[in-house]
Symmetry: C2
Subunit: 142 residues, 2 copies
Amino acid sequence: MVSKTPDQPIVAEIPEEISGLRMTRQRQEIYRILIEQRDHPTANEVFMRAKDRLPNLSLATVYNCLEALVQHGIIRQVNFERESSRYCPNLSEHGHFHDAATGGIHDVDFKPGFNLADVLELPPGAVIHDVEITLRGKLPSP
Amino acid sequence: MVSKTPDQPIVAEIPEEISGLRMTRQRQEIYRILIEQRDHPTANEVFMRAKDRLPNLSLATVYNCLEALVQHGIIRQVNFERESSRYCPNLSEHGHFHDAATGGIHDVDFKPGFNLADVLELPPGAVIHDVEITLRGKLPSP
DNA sequence: ATGAGAATTGGAATTATTCTTGATTCCGCG
DNA sequence: CGCGGAATCAAGAATAATTCCAATTCTCAT
């Protein structure tokens, strides 16, 4: 009953094609890097991590691939101040907490039932397409 | 009785010095531009608006002054995606709504009693220093 | 007045990102 | 299998915002 399935379903989450996006070797690899280590790497960090497996990858391609993945809603681009963009495979709506001490970035989920209109004086009639919540602070040291 | 005061008390709100920040001509002018037209201009927009009155102002100085004002808590720097930084004299805690249609940026106040911990699953023990809430969407056209 | 420290200037340097262009790969079809 | 068009990739040049730097100018307290 399980005879046909390989014993390592590693790429289970990496489809060959998503809504018209051709999943090339580079895109797969870059996506894999993002889900493997969910630490919100920059394009350059992704580039460095990918070099092992794709020795003649170019940084421009990393940008192209990340952009393609973002456009197709497979990953999200995260910006903090004017630092380099970072990339995040967590598609659920969430915010980001930047730990001032370590520089680390942590996803912060919204509480169930979260509703913007409950906390903000929105302009009447405004339609919200996108929300970005970023926190900066410190986590307990130990 | 009014003999000694000039007839145009324009700079009423612009102190000569704030908490150790020397309010030079350039800084005053730049601050004035920000409170005069609260449309979140970029450094370059500030630069262009200031040229009338300070013909040999340099863009580097605009950046320096804006930075000084930000450091001293007199204005705030606002970043949206990776666009140029914008500057805002509204010191009360608030978010920003970007109208996709017009490109305009509008301040959005928090509702009274707003509390982050009510809406976000904050990491336990986290101390928040700063919150940034950015919305993108559309306002009713008329 | 004057001298030290701060601010301003203009231009050069930096950095992340995008653009350009030509080469390569992919994919359906004969 | 092999071709043609389309998509993708690579490499380096180009861009844009911001910062840095060195030289001048201001300011203010003495």
